[in-house]
């Protein structure tokens, strides 16, 4: 199905806005009213923005765009953001580099739960903040395991008086996640008797979110990063239902992002400001990593718990960790082949 589409599109890469518009007219949909609806949905009353919205409405899926179309689309976005935020921005569309497969390794022995990575990620990736907050990284606080003799008589099988051997859960294992564990707010970190497990998108090689997406707006790019075309997402949230790592976030409202906090170095599939009604998530800071830089969470980590690199390069940091350390992956039973590894020294 999509191969046919790809072929069609490849044959006519010069399909202009005008011809696509007329395509819609022949379908009897009434392009103008649709654009009006689009403007209503995005909540914009600005004329220039409405024009951009109009053009964006007919834009195709990023993966199917020709080089020229990508350029036009990126130009439109730059105009829009410059009008919205009053600042000069650069929206990149660097493709995945050949021979690169990004992988991530996190040392849970070192993590102190300071959540600097969370804040740095919000700042770097132009997430909504202040009124509606979106954070891609979740640091989960785990209390160390405990043995309590008192608990031996609690919570076992019922009917102890009738000769059934019962016993409560006297040992509470570390890693038992209860409600609200990622909302911890201590004076100081690390807290006594606690350790921390940061989670974010695992960039699975076999991502369930990609499988369930009805419009292929989310897909795995050749460098292994699962990306989202925010302009193609229909907001059905199937991916959020399917993700075993709770990595995806939905824009419940128009994102609030003060102009002075805008990160002007953007990528189309990466950190450009989103719109309401679409899903977003960690993308290994594409705008940085595709230019050979580290992600912002790695740069900010004060204890060096976060490692990143090219899995195809045997000498890369992440590969050396995989070769030498005690490595595990979360929820391996889901068989999604995450490229986000946890390790201890």
């Amino acid at each position: 199905m999509s191969d046919d589409i790809k072929k069609d599109r490849a044959e006519e890469p010069e399909l202009t806005d005008q011809s696509r518009r007329s395509l819609f007219k022949t379908m009897g949909l009434g392009a103008a009213s649709l654009a009006g609806a689009a403007a209503l949905v995005t909540g914009s009353d600005d004329k220039a923005e409405a024009r951009t919205t109009f053009a964006e409405f007919f834009q195709k899926n990023y993966r199917l765009m020709s080089e020229q179309e990508k350029k036009e689309s990126v130009k439109r976005l730059e105009t829009r953001y410059e009008e919205d935020y009053g600042r000069k921005v650069k929206v990149g569309y660097e493709p995945a580099e050949e021979g690169v497969l990004f992988g991530y390794a996190l040392n849970i022995q070192k993590c102190i739960g300071c959540r600097r990575c969370v804040k740095a990620c919000v700042k770097e990736n132009n997430q909504s903040r202040h009124t509606t907050e979106i954070e891609w990284i979740r640091v989960i606080k785990l209390e160390k395991g405990q043995f309590s003799e008192a608990a031996l008589t609690q919570g076992g099988y019922p009917g102890g008086d009738y000769g059934i051997q019962v016993g409560g859960n006297a040992y509470r294992n570390a890693g038992l996640i209860l409600e609200g564990q990622h909302y911890y707010e201590p004076e100081k970190v690390p807290e006594k008797d606690s350790f921390y497990l940061p989670m974010q998108c695992m960039q699975c090689e076999k991502p369930p979110c990609v499988k369930v997406c009805p419009v292929r707006t989310t897909y795995r790019d050749p460098d292994g990063v699962v990306v989202i075309d925010y302009n193609w997402c229909i907001g059905c949230r199937m991916c959020m239902g399917a993700c075993p790592y709770w990595a995806r976030r939905f824009n419940f409202a128009h994102p609030t992002l003060p102009a002075k906090e805008l990160n002007t170095d953007m990528h189309y599939l990466g950190n450009r400001p989103r719109v309401k009604g679409v899903v977003e998530k960690c993308h290994f800071c594409l705008q940085r990593t595709r230019k050979g830089r580290y992600t912002s969470c790695i740069e900010v980590c004060p204890v060096g718990a976060r490692k990143f690199g090219n899995l195809l390069d045997p000498e890369s940091e992440v590969r050396r960790i995989l070769d030498r350390k005690r490595v595990f992956r979360l929820k391996a039973e889901f068989n999604t082949y995450p490229k986000f590894f946890y390790f201890v020294d």
Binding site: V41, T132, H182, P214, C233, I234, W246, A253
Partner: protein
């Protein structure tokens, strides 16, 4: 078919449409009041839809933890109601039950109305309904066969088309006073019967193919969905038939009610059996995967939002099952519709509120968060139900008019 017969078909079909429309305008005070109420409630979706469209999902009660809410719950339930049209079509055409065959077209009309409601609910569920065209094959991208949602899109749309074609073709032929061309009509009806099963099965697959949500990832789900649908659907049809019998001249024999109420009672029984199987399978070993179910039936960490829905559903389902088991009560057509209403509401609570909603608790990282639908969501749901009932009222009234012979083709001398 030559040119003349095509022209004749088109012109008579237009006549059929116009005469039906005129017939729909005629009605008693009760009919007008009913339609007025439905349209006023249906108008609410304009307000709710505008608020949700302008401000985004912030006006709903949904969160990143619970991302599917009331819209999807109603959608899933209504897919079942749509599928249940087969409980009148199948006996009518396959068992050749004469009395049921006469009114089977009303089941098709119900299917059309229910699928329409499903589509409105899906539009409300979408974060970007303005981008709906992205899913249209050809101009958008249709991730088939990978995405289960695309299977559902195919299943529902084809089912809608089958019911529209079968239903309106049958009515048109009645209107013309001609017999149906059974060479293609009957096979199409058979296909629609099988297809009805497919729509609810695929909707179940949509949910139980997500191992992330252990409460749904259960192979009992498709059959449970179908069984509960085959209890709720005929229950609704019994109510609708009672209303039609009491308010129009259409004679729906008692036999039809007896037949349908038997389907309701046995499907309710099997549904309860499946519920018990599920409870034992999940609760006996008591793994962490049973936490969603524990949350549903007794609450977890003091969060009990779903508990009353679950137990009300159980009381309604068990109560109506026991009452209907008694032949005296089941065959009493005065109280039967009320018991059916209880069963219908019970299954709506069981499938929508106590099954779709708690599936997201706990979240994949073990977090429990309560979802309380917002007023905007409730308004939109009430509005959509009202629109659906209005569509059904109009379709059923037109169909009854044709079946009664009130709408009938008359050959004019000059045409």
């Amino acid at each position: 078919m030559n040119n003349n017969s095509i022209v004749r078909f088109i012109s008579t079909f237009i006549c059929f449409g116009i005469e039906t429309a005129l017939y729909l305008l005629k009605g008693g005070l009760k009919f007008y009041i009913w339609c007025f109420i439905l349209l006023s409630l249906g108008g609410l979706v304009v307000i709710g839809g505008a608020l949700q469209g302008y401000y985004g999902f912030i006006v709903t009660g949904l969160t990143d933890q619970v991302t599917w809410g009331l819209y999807l719950a109603n959608f899933v339930f209504l897919v079942g109601v749509a599928a249940a049209a087969v409980t009148v079509v199948f006996p009518g055409y396959v068992y050749k039950h004469k009395e049921i065959k006469k009114v089977a077209v009303l089941g098709e009309m119900l299917a059309i109305a229910a699928v329409s409601m499903c589509m409105i609910f899906i539009l409300f569920h979408m974060g970007r309904p303005d981008r709906l065209w992205h899913i249209f094959p050809g101009i958008g991208i249709f991730n088939w066969p990978n995405s289960m949602l695309t299977w559902d899109v195919v299943a529902l749309n084809v089912y809608l088309a089958l019911n529209v074609v079968c239903g309106f073709y049958y009515l048109y032929k009645k209107y013309m006073g001609e017999p149906t061309n059974d060479r293609w009509y009957i096979p199409l009806v058979y296909i629609a019967c099988v297809w009805a099963l497919s729509i609810h099965t695929v909707t179940a697959f949509l949910m139980n193919t997500m191992p992330t949500r252990p409460m749904w990832a259960h192979s009992i789900l498709p059959i449970k969905f179908i069984i509960t649908a085959f209890a709720a659907g005929p229950a609704f049809i019994i109510i609708a038939f009672s209303v039609i019998r009491n308010n129009t001249d259409l004679d729906i024999p008692d036999k039809v009610f007896h037949f349908l109420s038997q389907i309701v009672v046995w499907c309710l029984g099997i549904a309860l059996f499946l519920t018990i199987s599920e409870l034992v399978t999940e609760l006996y070993p008591g793994t962490e995967h049973s936490f969603s179910l524990v949350y549903t039936i007794m609450g977890k960490h003091g969060l009990t939002m779903i508990v009353p829905f679950f137990w009300t559903a159980m009381v309604f389902m068990v109560g109506s099952f026991i009452l209907l088991l008694n032949p005296k009560i089941r065959k009493n057509l005065t109280i039967l519709p009320y018991i059916c209403l209880v069963a219908f509401v019970g299954i709506w609570l069981e499938k929508g509120m106590a099954f779709v909603l708690p599936g997201f608790n706990p979240s994949p990282i073990g977090e429990f968060s309560e979802y309380t639908p917002s007023i905007v969501e409730i308004i939109n749901c009430i509005g959509t139900w009202a629109i659906g009932l209005f569509i059904f009222t109009i379709l059923a009234k037109g169909a009854v008019g044709v079946l009664l012979g009130d709408i009938k083709y008359k050959e004019y001398p000059d045409s």
